[in-house]
């Protein structure tokens, strides 16, 4: 199974290199992401597969298309294939492959990666954290500091995009006007689907303890629902629902929630982000802490992804 997926991945990558039509290249990237998500499923990485499908094949493709709209669809005829990059790439590749020759075989239970910390996490998750999903347990509890840092990175990236591009508020006159009157099918279907998409996002947010899911995926799913609304009903409709001025505040609020949880633990006399300080028993403290922390992550990711989309879609092509 993974041979087929890997083979297709290679084909897609090679095609993406050789094509000059950037629209097609972006589409190929979407396919590549989706194949990678399939490969992750085959490799037992369900959370990662979910995130890659939502993020890579969803948001990133939309962003690249939005960029193409502003920069131009075709690549100019590339220079003749030069030797130096090929040599560099070949040497790097050879060095990496030489490095992998010492690596343990795929799936080896005795591999060094599976020793040390991982078995401890696997064995003690139910007892110490109480959530069946070990990935969420590690993400939100055992390695909570890292996730705090990553949330701040996402927030910063959103700030950077806002600084670079800014958001143009769409004047209210343009809204409500049907772009093309006979888009009935699209409007009806999308109107029916969006509540389910948002509901699914909420489900993913809170179900992340028990199945694949969590704050990152949920934020992306909810933002994607709003992006769909904006794409189908016309530019600016999503801004009616979530005004752009709110977005930096919402993103900051998410980071604040995360940090507040940590601060609360400090105030109780324990270490930063030690969830056992939050409730009567350590386990319920873990549940509460993880829920709050994932909520903070989800809020920030949602606000940042939506802000980035607003920034790109509102940019008018300069003459």
């Amino acid at each position: 199974m993974d041979i087929v997926l890997l083979g297709f991945l290679l084909l897609t990558a090679i095609a993406a290199i050789r094509l000059r039509d950037l629209f097609a290249v972006v589409m190929l990237f979407g396919i590549y992401s989706f194949l990678a998500a399939g490969l992750f499923m085959v490799l037992d990485a369900v959370d990662v597969a979910f995130t890659e499908a939502a993020v890579g094949a969803g948001i990133t493709t939309v962003l690249m298309l939005a960029t193409l709209r502003l920069t131009g669809r075709f690549e100019r005829s590339p220079r003749p294939v030069r030797l130096l990059p090929l040599v560099v790439v070949a040497m790097t590749g050879a060095a990496l492959i030489y490095g992998t020759l010492d690596a343990p075989l795929l799936g080896d239970v005795q591999a060094p990666a599976q020793q040390h910390v991982a078995p401890r996490y696997i064995e003690r998750t139910m007892a110490e954290v109480g959530t069946p999903n070990m990935v969420t347990a590690v993400l939100a509890s055992y390695r909570g500091y890292d996730t705090l840092g990553e949330t701040v990175v996402i927030f910063t990236a959103g700030l950077a995009v806002l600084l670079l591009l800014g958001i143009t508020e769409v004047p209210p006159l343009r809204l409500g006007r049907r772009v093309i009157n006979d888009q009935v099918v699209l409007h009806v279907i999308v109107k029916a689907l969006i509540p389910f998409i948002l509901l699914f996002g909420a489900y993913v947010q809170f179900h992340g303890d028990y199945g694949a899911g969590g704050g990152f995926q949920a934020g992306v799913v909810v933002a994607t629902g709003l992006v769909l609304y904006d794409l189908v009903f016309g530019d600016g409709h999503a801004q009616l629902v979530v005004p752009p001025t709110w977005l930096p505040r919402i993103a900051a609020f998410g980071v604040l929630v995360y940090g507040a949880v940590g601060l609360l633990s400090l105030l109780q006399g324990k270490a930063l982000l030690d969830y056992s300080a939050l409730a009567q028993t350590p386990l319920s403290g873990q549940h509460l802490g993880i829920m709050l922390v994932e909520l903070g992550v989800g809020i920030t990711v949602f606000a940042v992804v939506l802000a980035i989309f607003y920034a790109f879609s509102g940019r008018r092509r300069q003459a």
């Binding site: 920069t71 590749g93 690596a103 795929l106 591009l165």
Partner: protein, 127 residues
């Protein structure tokens, strides 16, 4: 689902990385470079997740009765890497848009030419 035993996954991941790297180094169009970078990122993820795989194991979600699980640590790492990756790709694409507006083109050659014109005009004053 049989896994191909051995190192096949890693090699293909390395090949994909090299494809992405080639795009970043050798193709002059900035947007295509960003796509290449994203390809590179995704192939690194594949590499990491392949390392965490354990044959015959269950996904790292606790099910009563299962004892063998795939390693959750790479999953955690890659999960955050994916979302951070999209955020930084967005920043990169925003930069490309601004470059397009400042220089009128996203081809490296055009940008270099404009920069050279600019520094010629500036009469020796700085790049």
């Amino acid at each position: 689902m049989n896994m191909v035993p051995g190192l096949f996954n890693y090699w293909v991941a390395v090949l994909l990385m090299m494809a992405g790297l080639y795009v970043v180094i050798a193709q002059p169009n900035l947007v295509k470079k960003m796509v290449g970078l994203a390809l590179f990122q995704a192939s690194v993820f594949i590499f990491y997740i392949s390392i965490g795989k354990v044959s015959g194991a269950h996904a790292p979600i606790f099910i009563a009765g299962e004892t063998l699980y795939s390693n959750p640590l790479p999953h955690v790492l890659i999960l955050t890497a994916i979302v951070v990756g999209v955020a930084t790709t967005a920043v990169g694409l925003a930069l490309v848009v601004r470059i397009q507006e400042a220089y009128g083109s996203v081809e490296e050659d055009d940008i270099d030419a404009k920069d050279r014109e600019q520094s010629d005009e500036d009469d020796g004053g700085g790049p």
